[in-house]
Structure formats: structure tokens, C-alpha cells
Symmetry: C5
Subunit: 340 residues, 5 copies
């Protein structure tokens, strides 16, 4: 059985994907545990193990699977990103998939999605990040600063990680609300720009993506709050209820924004039509203002022998004046009915 | 343990946030209780405590938490506004979050939302207002005027506060209904103003906000009406059922208004198109009325040597008369087909 | 205790609101009972009391409350109109709220809503009408004509009243269906009148109001059909199931009409656009027919010295003929491509 | 008691409505049973009775009611058409209402709805048709050809009738799918005919009517498949599950067609607008092509003394050539930008 | 009883429809079993039979039915394609219907649907393909390469086949997403082509078809994951849960695409209107630029005797210059307000 020998070498290679791997005793970090020693460390029945992985290789995952006895399907899921958020409950472990989201750093509002998977078992938590940019270092630091809570073990850590992921959605919702507010101003200011429609479309695409990421968590968090698994102690359940409330709140906000952006899209269409009508009227008014003197000029261009006006000395300036007067009268008229 | 000493000083500073704090015996107000004495007052097993807070500081809340032994999560929620309406049931207490709403005093219809949180336990009720403008002084006065009901304790007070909050929505619904009625008149009077679309949009935004505030209360009130907690006695439950009926009624009205405003938006769009069509026809008609005499004038402007009319003495006035007649005929024609 | 003395006087004053108040024995009307004697009459354990009120004063209601021992909340509801249809089940009585509807007598289709409340207890039924125009005299007469059924007591009477209220909706649905049929004819006949949109809007408003009135009855009737209250005997329950079927049927019809009217609204918009397009084409065609001879006239209005045609004797009539021919040719052409 | 005497006479008169009435023994037809003998025939405990009625009179129905002891409400329903599909379960009988549908024989696709009611009890089935054009003769013949199945009694016959009714919907769905396919071709071929919108509207009206007829059967068939009534034996239940699958399938197809026809309606609107735009561009292009030579002609119609061109011999043909060239150039240009 | 004799002959004829028929022992293929010997082979209680059929004739199916004792209804379903996906549970067997989907090989994105039916019983699996182009040879090969899993029997094979079918949908979803991305580019690039609308329509039709195929599998897979049938062992159930997750994921993606394509359709309509408006403005601008010099030319075409300019030597070129200047000024003006 050559595995114990080859493992260290393989794992060295892959160890970039191990962000953090530590053992805790009574909520105090007592040791950093290399991947190869995880199984042994876990056998200390008084130690809690928390491992953080980032896009691990198949080898790392299969090593972890052996160390903690994880289910084939969960390991397969953890290797592949593009999972839908879910909670799988196995006999003595749980597997949670969540989608993370982050506004891109650049100027344009763009949401970058990633994934955080979490294995949860007696005295261990393993988190696996895929493409999610914000590491869990902050979460770990915060947990380590409250040893009395951390001492409560896996349920507490699972809550901390999940809370961290869910809270990332609030600034995004704020950004989308701000975007819609800005769009409102554009729509109702009467400028029917082509870009407004595109921006509403992209807003709605973002909202759909967030809804897809968040809505499965309603069920996940609710099940965690009502679970009777020993992994989540009774006093930890209200904390998952709290996460549930947050997720429901986010889903409600997204739903509102979806409905409102739909109304914005329809209002936009209505106002484009109003603009069209206004422009048509303006065009018609100017056409009329030009057509009337053209008609008059046409009249005096007729070749009748007996046209008294054409013989008058003041005929020409009089005709010009008449044309000018007609134009001004029409202009005033159109102004008064608000066509110009 | 320096807390008993420092407490009075801290609390003095924060006491602006304590609006009212009183103990009741058999429904009769027997004492105003300063914040520092709440724990002692509550130990009188025959006294009921009702505390009203307005945007309390963290210190005031943590003092309250110690006095009544409230749950960490509820206190955290009570400190932050922007909660979704909900009911949390703990072992021996409940925590209710509601959104309040009020029409702004100014001329423009604008809804100001606030929040009322409520802790409910054996022989105590604590209300926390955030940004909600209407104080509960009226509720307290009304309760104190019916000591036999107030003597029933926390369930009765909880009902009174909740009833007060829910009843605030009815005048708002009335105002929104009035707004929609007014919009109907505008839409169907044929004036396709740009502002109509904007007003429908804002109406819909308001309706969504109210729905977000009210719809979670359907579940909250229903659970309170069916609870078997000893905090809400059996004879108090029909009163929560009554609140439930009100909330369902509000939600139904908002839903109707949402659907109707959607139809109004679509009708508006259709009528804008009809207006557009009418204007296009009117424009076409006037263009024709001008084009015909222009053509006639063009004819007599041709330089043919042998044009008998041009030699006639009455040629010029005759041609003018003909043009006038053609214009009048066209005008009559367009009138009859309703283009003018 | 002066109430027994003052009651008759007060009640005299208010007795306009008592439409009918009778006691029945084995389904046979045995006595008219004045309001003041209701309590006594009810104490005859072999008599059934049926009271019909119309917009009763607070005094009448509180007298009724004392006579039959009704719940405060139900009495409060019965005094106020504008309740949502519902069923409240108390220990030994039930309270039913229904909305009534009636087409207005005048020529314009307008629906007048009212309310019928009903208290249901052992050996008594009290109906309270608010603004509903059709009295229950017919219902009572029909019940009295079948003493064997009336002898079954409160469940039977409750069914008769409820059936009466629900059946009022069918002619209204018929009227709305007829309205939609008429609108279809208007929409697809190609006349894009402004009024069509308004009529669809008002149709949809009516449908929403009916849905609000009817949909809560689905739950009410279903609960009555499945109740195990002794007030509704087992052999009466299929009759409430029958009402349930009617209500579900009405709700289904209204839902169909809502969807169909939505499609009508959208079809209307599409056809307005088609009309617009047709008018634009017609306008374009006539503009072209006028522009071509105008151009020709312009040509012969040029002042070139060497224009052979202008010297010809038949030049002028030939040019007129040419213009005429061009116009006819264009007219034929536009006809053939269906622009005219 | 004169009924036995008068019955034959009355029933003679009404017997046109009795299409078929036969007794079966072990699945073999043993006798035709006149209406008057139904009760006796049914008393043979080894005989199964199957009666087929077509729009029966009240008298026939009341005779049937007495013979088999049917419930008042079911008889009342069976007399009136315009019932919503449903299943009523009484103590020892069932009453099923179904809507039948058939494409009209004429050239235009039009759906004719009828109703089939069915009483189902121990050893008897009574079918009542209202306006449904396809008789059950075929069903009966098919059943009689498999005596071993027919011997299973009422459950089997009920299944056969229901299966017959449900299968009538499949050709209708096929016809509506064909209609939508044809409409697609029309819509996307660029011909924005007025009739397309009308046809989509009528398609949607038909789909709604079918949905109303079919969707209640989902519940009816599911309840029959899960019933524990002795009327439907355990081995008959999978057959009702099969009907359930068909009904769900039909409802799914109708739902798809509804959504697709909605998209077709919206696509139609979009393409009407595109057509409008194309026509506007074409109109604008031709207007420009006419306006340019008109301008040139106007220039040479000016009365300046010193216009060298007007004195040239080739001035006139040159100007005409220039106009022609300008027109051709514009025409080419508009062609290249796809306006013509 | 001539069947044993005639069977081989009949089955020879039909045997093209038998793709594969093998017996397995402990997960190892031990024999190819001709159709005629299936019953015998199955009687070896230690052998597992896996038969693969392709569009079998009625005779083959009835032979299979006798060999394994399958239910009439399932056999009838298996013979007919056009079933809705479903799971039928019989006493000791299951029948699963799934729809398969595949992108057509040609250049145009077109989805070809087929069906895979599966009989599942103790120690046997029979798959029946209808029109589905991808054979199960790959599935069988993969299963045979893991004998330890294949040894687990019917549940494992059922999972493998179902997984294979469900995984076919992912590349299709990817293709539809790519199509929508491409459409987005077209829509927002400002080219309002007629084909864009048609493509959105066909995208939506495809999405509806996929939803119809996939959504019933949510229920099917969920029931298989929660079944307590002995056919699916406890350790196989998480694998069906995994399929359930995939199906829910596909349904979620399709739903997102449906909503997004709806928004795309509406955005398209809005942008067509914007285009229309832009074209109208451009047309109006050019009309004005032509109308102004036409008016000026008309002025100097008037026949007044006293028009000083007409006598000037530079009158003609000056007038032309003025016209040119006016045109350029207008052009600049329209440019600056973005009409040109």
C-alpha cells in the first residue's frame, strides 16, 4: 500500500490550494495541521479541525475524503464548480453549497459570482472556495477572537461562514437599487436614450442571477434552523433562523427590484412613444410653417396677365411681409397648443 | 463589578430614548419606573411593565436585555432598523418586527416608513420605534382607559400596538386609490402627458413597498392567532385573528391596485399610440389642404405660350376662388372622416 | 339597572332597521318577535329564530348581542361595512361576511356592491345587510314554503342565504362576458377608438372587484362543507359543497375573463399600430400623387429660353393630360399594393 | 299512489332521451331494460345496469333518481348543463361531471363544447349527455366486445367513458398547434395583417376554454386513482392514473400553447413596428427623390435677369438630365442603405 | 399452445429492435440472451438481465411483457411515443418515461426530442428508446467497466441511464444561452432586424419544449430518491437525489432564460421604437433642408414687376449662395441636436 509514502509528495505539489488548516481546543487554535496529518489530528477527540481549501485538485479532495470519510457524491460536487446552492444531509455529515457574489473592482457595475462549498461533520468543518474572490481569512480571524463561541464547534463555524457569504449580497442589492434610481431619473427626464433600455436589461439579468443564487438558500437555511442533527446544537439553530431571515429579506428585495424594473421597462416604452409623438408634432409644425409661404410664393408665381398686385411698387415687400406674418402667426399658434 | 455604579450615569445620558416606562397593577398604572429599576420592578410578581423606547442606544438595549433576559439575536435586531417584519419565538419571550407607514405631511403624496419592534414576555412589553413618526402615546392612553382589558397583560398590549400599526395602512391605501382614480381621469381624457407615466411608476413603487411591509404580517398575525404560547391567552387569540383579517384585507387591496395600475400603464401606452395616430392624421390632412392649392399655383406658373386662362381678366381671382373651394372641400371631407 | 325600561323606547326608534324577525316551530312561522322579546323567544328550546336587519344602529346590535351572547369582535365587524368576506368560528356560533353584487338599474353597466353578514348559532340566524339592494324577503318566502327543510334549522337557512348571495354573481358574469364580446367586435372591426381602451380598463376593474368579493368565499364555503360544527348538520354539508362548486366556477369564469381581457388589451394595441401603419401608407400615397404633378408643373415653370414644348399650341393641355395620367397610374399602383 | 300508472305514459313521451338502457350479466348483455323496469332489474343482485341518457327531461331524471336512490343535488346538477367538471362523492354513489369538446365539422376551426355527466353506483352507471355531439355508442360497443373487462363492473365502465371524453381533446390540441404553426409563418413572413392578431386572440380564447374544461379533471382523475371507495376496485385505479396522466399531459400542452401564443402576440406587435419603420423609411426615400428635382425646377423658375443657363440652347435638356441623374443617384443611395 | 413455436420466427423478424440483451452475474456480463430465452434467464435467481430495445414492435413488447409479467398499461405506454415524463410504481416493478434531447448535427440550432422508457424490476432493467438518437451503448459500456457498482443491480443501472438522459440537457442549455448572448448583441447594437424577433420567438419555443420535458422529472427523481421500494436500495437513493439536483438546476436555468428572453423581447420592442424615432427625426431634418431652398426659389419665381434683386447681375449666384448657406446652417443645427 504505497499511498502513505506518495501522499506527502503529491500533497506538497497541491498544497497551494490549502489556504488554512488548523486544530482548535476549547476554541483556541492549538496547531496548524498539514494535510497529511489531518486524519491523526481528528482522532484527538477533543480537537476541532477547520480546513480552508481554494480550488483544490482531485488528489487533495480524495485525501480529505479518506481522512474524514466523506461521501463520494459530495466530493464529486466539491470538485466541480457550477453547483446550485443546496444542502445534502448524509448520515453523519452535511454538505452545503453556496454561491458567493462580489461587485467587480472596476468602474462598471459587474457582479462576479463564485462558490463556497462546506463539509460539516463532528468536530470538523472544511470549506472549499471556487472562484470566489474574498477569502475566509476574515471569518476565521473573527471566530478566533471569540473562543467561547468557537468552542461550540462546527455549528458555530458553519453559521459564521454562511453569514459571511449571505452578507456579501447586501451591498450588491444596494448597488442595484442605486442603478435603478439612476435609471428612473434618465427615463422620466424625457431622454429616450438607447442605452437606458440596455441598462434595464442588464439590471434584470443581474437580478435573475442573484435570485438563482439566493433563492435556494431560503430552503437550505430553513432546514438548518429546523434540523435535529446533532451537528447543529439547539442553541445554534436560532442563528440559522437569523440567516434565514436575511436570505428571505434579500429575496424580497430582489423580487421588488425585478417588478419595479419591469415597470421601468414598460414606462420607458411608453415614454419613447410620447417622445415620438412630440417629435412628430414638432416636425409637422415646422413643415406647416414652411409650406404656407411656399404656397404664397407659388401664387405670385402664376402667369396671369391681370394680377393687380404684381404691378404694385410695394407688391414684393408686401408679399414678403405677409409671408413673414403668416409664419409668425403659425409659430405662435403651435406654441400655444404645445407642439413647438 | 462596576456596572451598577456606572449604569445610572450612562442611562441618564441615553434616557432621551426612553419615552415611557411604567408599571401596572390590575390594569392601573402604579408607578413610572426609571430604566435602572426595571429589573426590580419586574420582580414584583403582580406588576406588569410596559417600556416604550425610541431609537435606543446600544447601552440602553443591553441594560434592557439584562433586566429581562432577552436573546442576543433579538437585541441585535432591535438595534438595527431595516428589518423585515417577522415574529421570533424564543423559549419564554417573543420578538415582533413591524414596519410602520405614514403619509408625509407635505402636499406631495409620499410614504415615510419606520419600524416598530416589540419584545413580549411574561408581564412585560417593550416597544422600540425606529424612525416611525407616530408615537405610541395614544395607544398607551387608550389602553390605560380600559383597565379591565389592560389587566389581561402582555397579549392585550401586544394586540393594541399591532392593531395601531396595521390601522395606519388604511389611510395610505385610500390615498393610493385616490391617486389611481385621478390618473384614470388623466389617461382616458386623452391627454397623454409624460407625467402620467411617471406617476403610475411611482404609484407602483409605493405599492411594492407597502406589499413588502405588509405581506410578512399575514404569517406573523396568523401564527399569533394560532399560537399555544402562554404569553397570548386563549381569549386574546381571536383579536390577533382580527388583525390577520385586516392584514389580508390590506394585502388584497394592494394586490388589486397593483393589477389595476398595470392595466392603467398598458392602457396609457395604447392611448398614447391612438393620440399619435390622431396627430398623424391631422398632420396629413393639413398637408393635403396646403398641397392642393400649391399644385394649382404651380400649374398656372407654367410658361406655356398658349394657356387661355392666363389671358382672361378674371383668371387670377377665378384661380384663387378655385383654390379656396378645393381647400374648403378637402376640409369638409377630412372633417367627415374625423381626421380633423 | 334601567336597561329593560329604556330598551323599548330606543328600539322603537331604531326598529326601521329590523326588516323581519320571526320565530319558527317545526319549520312553520309561529310568531313575529319584536326585538325586545328576542331573548325570551329564544329560550323556548323548540323555537328557531330568524332575524333580518338592514344597516342596524349600534344600539340594535348591542341589544342583539346581549340576547344571543355574541362575540364583541363579530358585533364590531357587523356594524362596519367594508369587511372582506370571511368566516369566523367561535365556540358556539359562527359569523359569516359576504359581499353582494348587483348590476345597476340604469343603462350603463355598473356593479353596485353591498354586504351581507350572518350570525349563525343554535336555533338562530341573524342576517345584517349593508347597502345591498336586494332584500332577503324572497329567500325567507322560499324557505317558508318548504317547512320540512326549514325545520332543519340554522344550517339550512344559512345555506339558503348564501346560495342567494352567490347566485347574484352569475348574471353579472354574463353581462361582463357580453361586454367583452362586444369589445371584441369593436377591436377586430378595425376601429381603434379611444373608448375601447377605456372600456377594457373598466371591465378589468370590475373583474378585479368581483374576484376580491368572490375568491375568499372559496375558502369559506369549503370550510363550511367540511366543518364538524354541530351548527351545520352532516346532511347540510353537501349543500355547502354545492355552493363551493358555484364559487369555484365563478372564480374560474372571472379568471378566464381576466386573461382574455388582457389579451384583448394587447390585441387592441397591436391593431392600433396596424391602423397607424395603414394611415401612414395612405398619407404617403396621396402625398406622392400630389407631388408628381407638382414636379411636372415646376418643370414647365422653368424660365429656359429654349423649351420647345412651351411654344406648342397643345403643350398646355398635353402637360395637364400627362399629369392626370401620372396621377391615375400612381393611384392604380398604390391600389394594387393595398396602400389605398 | 298513481305514479306506477302514469309513469309509463310520461316515460313514453320522454323516452327519446333514453339512448340505451341495458342489463349485463358477467359482462354479457342480457336484456334491454325499459325505463320503467330499471328498479326491478337493479334488484337482481347479479346484474349490472348501464343507462345512457341524452338531455333528459326532469321527469326522466326523477324516475331515475327514485330507481337508484340518487342524491337531490346530483340530479339537479344533471338536469342543468353548464356545470364545471367535478367529482362528487356520496355515501354509496359518485357523480362525475366532464366537459366534452369537438371540432366543428365546417371549414373554420371552431370548438363545440358539451357535457357528459355520470352517476356511478354499485352495479350501475348512468351517463347523461348535454349537447355533446358524439354519442357513447362506440364506447358501449367496445366495452361489450371485452366481456371479461366489462364483467368488472361500474369502475371499468366509468373508466371507459372518461377515457373516451379525455381522448377527444388530443385532436383539438393538434388542430390548435397547427393553427399556431400557421400563424408563426404569417407573423414572421413580414405580412402584418390585421387578421393575424384576431386569429391569435381567438386561439387564446379557445385555449382558455379548453383549460377551463380540462384542468378540474386533474383533481377528479387523481382522486379517482387514489380513492378507497369500493365502487372503484384496486385493480381499476391504475387505469384512472392513466387518465390522470393524459389530463396532465393535455394541460401541459395547453399551457405551452398559451405561453407560446403570448410570445407570438408580442412578436407580432414588434414586427408590426418594424414594418411601420420600413414603410416610413420607404416613404421618406421617395419623398426625397421627388423633392430634389422639384427644388431644381424651382431654381430655374426664378425670375433673375442674369441667369446664364436659361439662355443656353441645351439648358433645358441639361437641367432635365441633371434632375434625372440626381434621382438615380438618390435611388442608388437609398437602395444601398436598405431604405428601398 | 403454439406460441413457443411461433415466437422465434416472429422475433427473428423483429429482432432489429433488440439492440442489446445480456445477463450479468456479480456485475460481470456472462451471456447474451436472445429474446426467446429471457424468461428462462431471469429464473436464474443470481442473474441480472438488462435488455435494450429500439422502437420495438407490439409483438416484441408482448413477449417481454410475458417474460417479466409487466403491467398492461406500462406496455401500452412503452409502445406509444409522445408520453409525458413520469414514474409509475406497480406492485413489484416501476415504469419510467423520460424525454431525451439532442442538438441537431446540422449548422442551425435545432433540438431533436426522443423518448427513453425504462422498466425496472427485481433483477432486470428494460430500456425502450423512441426516436432518441443517442444509443445507450456508452452507458452500458461504462456500467460494465465498474462491475462492483453494476453488481448492485437494477437501481444502479436505472440511475446510470437516467443520469445519461439528464446530462444531455446541459449542452443544449449552453447552446441556448449562447444564442441569447448573441441576440443581446444584435438587439443592443441598434440593428432592429426582423430576424431578431423571430429568433427570440424560436428560442422561447425551444425553452418551453425543454421545460415540458424536464419539469416532470423533478417530481420523478424526487420520488425515486425518497422511495422505500426495495428496487432502489438505500445507498442508491442519494444518487437519485443527485439527479434531482441536476434536474432542478436545469429547470432553474431554463426559467432564467425564459424570463431573460422575455425581457429581451420587450427591450427589442422598445429599441425598435427608438429606431423609428431616430429615422423619423432624420427624415424630418432632410425634409427641412430641402424645403428651405425650395421656398427661396419660390420667392424669386414670383412675377412682381418691382423686385430689385432680380435685376442685379449677382442676384442669381447670390440667391444660390444664400440657399447653400441656409442648408449648411440647418445641417449644422440638426447635427448639434443629434437628429442627423
Amino acid at each position: 500500500m504505497p499511498r502513505p509514502l506518495s501522499a506527502p509528495k503529491t500533497l506538497n505539489m497541491a498544497s497551494q490550494s490549502v489556504i488554512n488548516s488548523a486544530a482548535y481546543h476549547n476554541g483556541i487554535r492549538v496547531a496548524d495541521v498539514p494535510l497529511a496529518d489531518l486524519g491523526d489530528a481528528w482522532n484527538h477527540s477533543d480537537r476541532f479541525i477547520w480546513v480552508g481549501l481554494y480550488e483544490p485538485s482531485e488528489q487533495v479532495l480524495s485525501f480529505i475524503q479518506q481522512a474524514f470519510g466523506l461521501h463520494d457524491l459530495a466530493i464529486e460536487d466539491a470538485h466541480n464548480a457550477h453547483q446550485r446552492p443546496k444542502l445534502e444531509v448524509y448520515d453523519d455529515s452535511m454538505f452545503v453549497v453556496m454561491r458567493t457574489a462580489k461587485l467587480s473592482a472596476g468602474g462598471d457595475r459587474r457582479i462576479e459570482f463564485g462558490e463556497t462549498h462546506m463539509f460539516l461533520g463532528p468536530r470538523y468543518v472544511i470549506t472549499v472556495r471556487h472562484g470566489s474572490l474574498q477569502s475566509h481569512v476574515g471569518v476565521r480571524a473573527r471566530c478566533e477572537s471569540t473562543p467561547n463561541l468557537l468552542a461550540k464547534g462546527e455549528g458555530f463555524v458553519a453559521h459564521a461562514v454562511m453569514d459571511f457569504v449571505v452578507d456579501q449580497y447586501f451591498p450588491i442589492i444596494d448597488a442595484l437599487e442605486a442603478e435603478l434610481d439612476e435609471l428612473e431619473v434618465h427615463i422620466f427626464s424625457g431622454v429616450s436614450e438607447r442605452s437606458v433600455t440596455a441598462r434595464i436589461y442588464h439590471l434584470r439579468r443581474d437580478l435573475l442571477a442573484i435570485m438563482q443564487a439566493v433563492s435556494p438558500l431560503i430552503d437550505v437555511s430553513s432546514r438548518l434552523a429546523r434540523t435535529n442533527s446533532h451537528l447543529i446544537s439547539a442553541d445554534a439553530r436560532p442563528y440559522f433562523q437569523d440567516i434565514h431571515d436575511h436570505v428571505v429579506c434579500i429575496a424580497g428585495l430582489v423580487d421588488s427590484l425585478q417588478q419595479l424594473s419591469q415597470t421601468a421597462l414598460e414606462s420607458n416604452l411608453a415614454l419613447i412613444s410620447v417622445s415620438q409623438n412630440d417629435d412628430t408634432k414638432r416636425l409637422a409644425a415646422w413643415a406647416a410653417i414652411l409650406a404656407v409661404p411656399t404656397l404664397v410664393a407659388g401664387l405670385y408665381g402664376m402667369n396671369f396677365k391681370y394680377m393687380p398686385e404684381t404691378g404694385w411698387v410695394w407688391g414684393y415687400p408686401a408679399s414678403l411681409a405677409m409671408m413673414g406674418l403668416l409664419c409668425v402667426a403659425l409659430y405662435m399658434r403651435f406654441r400655444s397648443v404645445d407642439w413647438l
